[in-house]
């Protein structure tokens, strides 16, 4: 029910209704971006952003730096264990 799928905003289709075209794993769908726009992030500035899509709405931006840090931590964990096992 609370399924969310990562996608990338590729085009703003309707500024007034806050609609954008999002590429979700190759599938393009129009989604509402009202949850991720404010004065600092007007619709025009959202192109290229990675977002989490849920029931036709972009619910949040994906923080690329945090994602990279999580993966880096796990990579270091795996590397350390590989070192122990060799």
């Amino acid at each position: 029910m609370c399924l969310g799928i990562p996608g990338q905003i590729i085009e703003i289709t309707n500024v007034n209704h806050k609609l954008a075209l999002v590429n979700i794993g190759g599938v393009k769908r129009e989604v509402n971006i009202a949850c991720i726009v404010d004065e600092q992030h007007p619709p025009e500035a959202c192109i290229g952003d990675w977002v989490l899509v849920h029931v036709g709405f972009a619910m949040n931006r994906i923080n690329e730096q945090e994602a990279a840090e999580t993966l880096q931590l796990l990579q270091e964990l795996a590397a350390a264990q590989a070192g122990i096992n060799t």
């Binding site: 609370c2 029931v55 709405f57 923080n63 264990q81």
Partner: protein, 392 residues
């Protein structure tokens, strides 16, 4: 797929499993961890996470599946609305097979009701625009994750003055449900895997009461296998170090204060109900959302006559105990026999996020049940039902 594939890499999963196993040796006793969210339950079964955990760690599958906690009475109300002449009833596919007291939405559609599946509440608004001569009702259900989309849709309907559109609100709130679980003496938990997408909206701060008042650790988690394994590892670290904190594994999505815009939308359109009935948990105070008087014209509960009756669950169905983690699905007499995903008696067998459906779909029952037998010499007072699974 970016942000998906990287979180499914086997080498990293193996490393996490080793760390979890290492930490589990430091546990003073076997522990029980509840994953609150049905999305986590589904991922846990899909990727076989439960099987690769040490035997001292038991996962309890919580009530965070809106379809699973939908009481029969509310389903009957939804079906009653759908059977109104001139109504187009729009719903997420999840709710189609949920059994009411006599029938489901799927059966009601077969009997002539105009019931349509949609992917987004905005799709139901479009149906209303396309059919100005019909009343369109959207079956709004879900936790705080889904509530903002419903709220934005109502705001848009008001702005565009679409009068043939309304919603039947069954939105529920996760924090009161967690409080009800924590207050239940039947349930002894050592920690929580917190819901990721609910927290995307409400943030991780609202869980502070779990650590401060109930002395339980909680880690908000993503949904990929590495996310869940890392969250279990973080929980174990807390338990071993005797800490009780709110931690956030899913920080690529979840912020401490959540999504302000989404929360504002919820508060603009919805008010908290005094009480709401949850299947298996009963009435929980301040746990549901109703549409505010300002948007009363979009409230299907006011627009249509509904039975509004409480209906008891099927006597043989143990969904209530399963939702609370008190019983395992295979300890229910009808699991896999009279109750299957094709003919569900209880809601936990309807949604792919329900514990019963997950056990049924992904099997592995023999492995999990064997582990339980190892830990508990006797599962129940009665023999296991002939559910088609071997315990050998």
């Amino acid at each position: 797929m970016k942000y998906v594939d990287e979180f499914r890499e086997p080498e990293k999963a193996e490393a996490l499993c080793r760390e979890i196993t290492k930490l589990s040796h430091q546990l003073e006793k076997p522990i029980k961890i509840m994953e609150v969210c049905g999305g986590h339950t589904h991922s846990i079964f899909k990727y076989g996470i439960e099987e690769i955990l040490p035997q001292t760690i038991e996962l309890i599958h919580g009530p965070g599946c809106p379809v699973c906690v939908m009481p029969k009475g509310r389903l009957d109300d939804a079906i009653a609305i759908s059977q109104n002449h001139n109504v187009i009833f729009a719903t997420f596919g999840d709710a189609m097979r949920v059994p009411g007291s006599k029938t489901s939405l799927l059966q009601a559609r077969a009997q002539g009701a105009d019931i349509r599946m949609v992917y987004s509440p905005l799709d139901s608004l479009q149906i209303a625009k396309d059919h100005p001569d019909r009343e369109v009702v959207f079956f709004a259900l879900g936790f705080e994750t889904t509530a903002p989309s419903t709220a934005f849709t109502i705001v848009q309907a008001a702005a565009e003055e679409i009068h043939n559109f309304s919603m039947f609100s069954n939105h529920v709130l996760v924090i009161p449900a967690l409080k009800a679980l924590l207050d239940n003496p039947d349930l002894q938990l050592d920690g929580f895997v917190g819901p990721g997408h609910v927290s995307m909206v409400i943030g991780s701060d609202p869980y502070q009461f779990i650590s401060q008042q109930y002395n339980k650790p909680i880690v908000v988690s993503g949904f990929e296998p590495l996310d869940i394994l890392q969250s279990i590892w973080m929980l174990l670290q807390q338990i071993v170090e005797n800490r009780c904190e709110v931690e956030n594994q899913y920080n690529r999505i979840v912020q401490k204060s959540g999504n302000t815009v989404a929360l504002q939308a919820i508060n603009k359109v919805f008010a908290v109900r005094d009480s709401f009935d949850w299947r298996g948990l009963g009435d929980i105070p301040y746990s549901g959302l109703k549409i505010k008087p300002e948007y009363a014209q979009f409230d299907a509960e006011l627009k249509f006559t509904i039975p509004n009756l409480k209906v008891a669950d099927h006597k043989a169905c143990k969904c209530g105990e399963i939702l609370k983690g008190v019983l395992k699905p295979w300890e229910c007499k009808v699991f896999g026999t009279a109750c299957t995903p094709e003919t569900p008696i209880g809601t936990c067998m309807v949604s792919s996020e329900g514990a019963c459906a997950a056990y049924y779909k992904y099997g592995r029952l023999s492995t999990i049940a064997k582990r339980t037998i190892t830990q508990k010499p006797k599962i129940t007072q009665e023999p296991l039902p002939a559910c088609g699974f071997s315990l050998d």
